[in-house]
Point group: C2
Chain length 339, copies 2
DNA sequence: AGTGAGAACGCAAACGTTTGCTTGATTTTT
DNA sequence: AAAAATCAAGCAAACGTTTGCGTTCTCACT
């Protein structure tokens, strides 16, 4: 027991063949006779032969492994995205190496280093909140290791990415509220520095414009996503001359803070004020009060798509030479889910 | 650009050394003179040399990779456990290959196969709900690939495992309620078939016994963890002759269902009836009403510990020979968190 | 009988690194 | 001054698999 696993060489020796013939036999190469092919496969089963991936990795110069860096697995958005990545990768016989940056740039750099030395074939990355430059990913270019960013993407053009079009999502959300006859719609947006905030703002404005309504900037309040900050935003909105009858929040957390505070103030949720949010928390339905609609960002699909692109890049790489200037810029349209 | 990465051989050629000397120089081997050592390292930096892990894996016969199979990453319990695994593994310079069974036995078997052919050095497994035998993991024994099970462990003795002692956790919970002067404590337990249910039941009984109180079996109701089933359990408890003033639920989901239903019935939560649960949902604090206490199962620690054990097994494997009969059976004591 | 084709298989190199054994040169010990 | 120890570095094999290029053999066809 605890035998070293059987190798091709051993099979070859037993059958009086060369290692190459055994290898070819196992791969159904045409130049191997049917009888020997059968004999080889037969013995392989008996010996419980399993190809040694380490050797194959080495020989082929590939690890058939994808590296994934996400901020936090415990955020369901990312764990679902990882599921999408995993499903496609496994389908294509790739394995997935997962690591978390915990939203820390230093950690992210360390992980990049780790993956570099591990020689993953490709990388899927969703940036940490604190990452404002991506120099630590530049080195992968030289190593010919493609990277596909998803969701939290850097604001540059010379990269491959998959992301959700927040502008459209917000447009749909605001449009939905307008159709419900709301005429004063508030928005608790994220930090101004975030690209995601700008997109939401744009979507809001676009919805107003398309409906030939005047855009009132005082109805969009930025907040830093904390409970305290959310309350302050709510105060501002509630004291607005045109007190909103509906509020779009940056994410579910903010929505919950806002709803909690509104209830504290005696406001009737989704009656006096309708809430619409972005889907972060799948368990939101366990709540007593939750937004009447959510912008679903389809993390699974984002992951799946990013995975597809990466594998596409990997298989195409051989033929690439001059046309390296084509970057994948995929935007996934979110959908508005009514609860 | 897009140069193939530098190799030891190239460094050797440039410096007129042998590959072996370069290798030793990079590893600070004592038999290499200081000057050459410096020259080698210097050039290595310049050429951006990174050791080719594929070759090292192959040469050493190890992949420095751990395989992890969990049911669902989107369950925060598992994503936190994975964080623990990852943190320790990375510290020891191992990578972590993660895959989800989605609580499906077939998928679990496929993944086991995948990891086998990938030749991970070791395996960390939390079983799918539908897994009732572990034959598909037996093969790893022959390959000398150790497995450590955690949390969802199989009910056999000849394995390594890390799990939480639910009996103690429940004991603490019930004891806590008894100290709060509750004299009729209900329990909405899980399916009878689950080991986890039996442990909770035992803990409940033990707490009663230790406090010299009579155990009333009618106060423990089994349910299948659905909302409907939870309501039925609540009905039974509320109609009990000794209507409970406190209820321990199998998990947070059940607690939320129960609380929702109780509120629907007009019962004052954590006033008329105190709820205590097991920590599954980190975001429970966003709720308006949540259990007054939770049994925290420390998923991070479980993962970390399991990771430690696996690496211990991996490094000790060389010296192991006769004493292969020692199995790690680690139980982690949960702690009662008061909210 | 000679040529050609194709089938069935072997040889050997290659992938990059590590490591036990050797060798040659220099230094220390007796 | 000779023998022994130490230092610095090279040689070559090994890990398991794949693959380009041969080689041998058998037939069939002119």
């Amino acid at each position: 027991m605890s035998n070293k696993p059987a190798t091709i060489k051993e099979i070859a020796k037993i059958l009086n063949l060369s290692a190459s013939s055994v290898s070819r036999a196992l791969h159904d190469h045409s130049s191997i006779g049917l009888t020997t092919r059968m004999r080889v496969k037969q013995l392989a089963k008996e010996l419980n032969y399993v190809p040694n991936q380490k050797a194959i990795f080495f020989q082929k110069g590939k690890t058939f492994t994808l590296g994934v860096i996400v901020p936090e697995l415990s955020e369901s958005f990312f764990s679902e995205a990882v599921s999408g990545i995993e499903d496609y990768a496994l389908k294509k016989n790739y394995s997935v190496l997962i690591a978390q940056s915990h939203d820390d740039l230093e950690k992210e750099i360390t992980l990049a280093e780790k993956f570099k030395s591990h020689r993953v074939d490709g990388l899927l990355v969703s940036l940490a909140k604190t990452t404002f430059n991506i120099d630590h990913f530049k080195q992968f270019e030289d190593l010919n290791i493609p990277i596909v960013f998803f969701d939290r993407i850097p604001p540059v053009k010379d990269i491959h990415y998959v992301a959700c079009n927040m502008e459209n999502g917000t447009y749909d959300a605001v449009n939905f509220l307008l159709k419900k006859k709301h005429r004063s719609i508030g928005m608790i947006n994220g930090p101004e520095t975030l690209n995601a905030s700008a997109q939401r703002r744009d979507g809001y404005i676009q919805a107003m414009v398309k409906n030939r309504l005047k855009f009132d900037p005082s109805l969009i309040i930025n907040c830093d996503l904390t409970e305290q900050s959310t309350r302050e935003a709510m105060d501002k909105l509630l004291n607005n001359k045109r007190k909103p009858t509906a509020i779009v929040t940056f994410n579910d957390y903010v929505a919950l803070y806002a709803i909690k505070y509104a209830r504290f103030l005696g406001i009737k949720i989704n009656d006096e004020i309708d809430f619409v949010s972005y889907a972060n928390l799948p368990i939101i339905h366990y709540m007593d009060y939750y937004p009447i609609a959510s912008v679903e960002q389809n993390p699974y699909q984002q992951g799946y798509r990013a995975s597809e692109i990466l594998l596409d890049l990997l298989t195409k790489k051989k033929s690439e030479n001059e046309e390296k200037e084509a970057y994948y810029h995929i935007t996934i349209d979110p959908e508005l889910i009514l609860h």
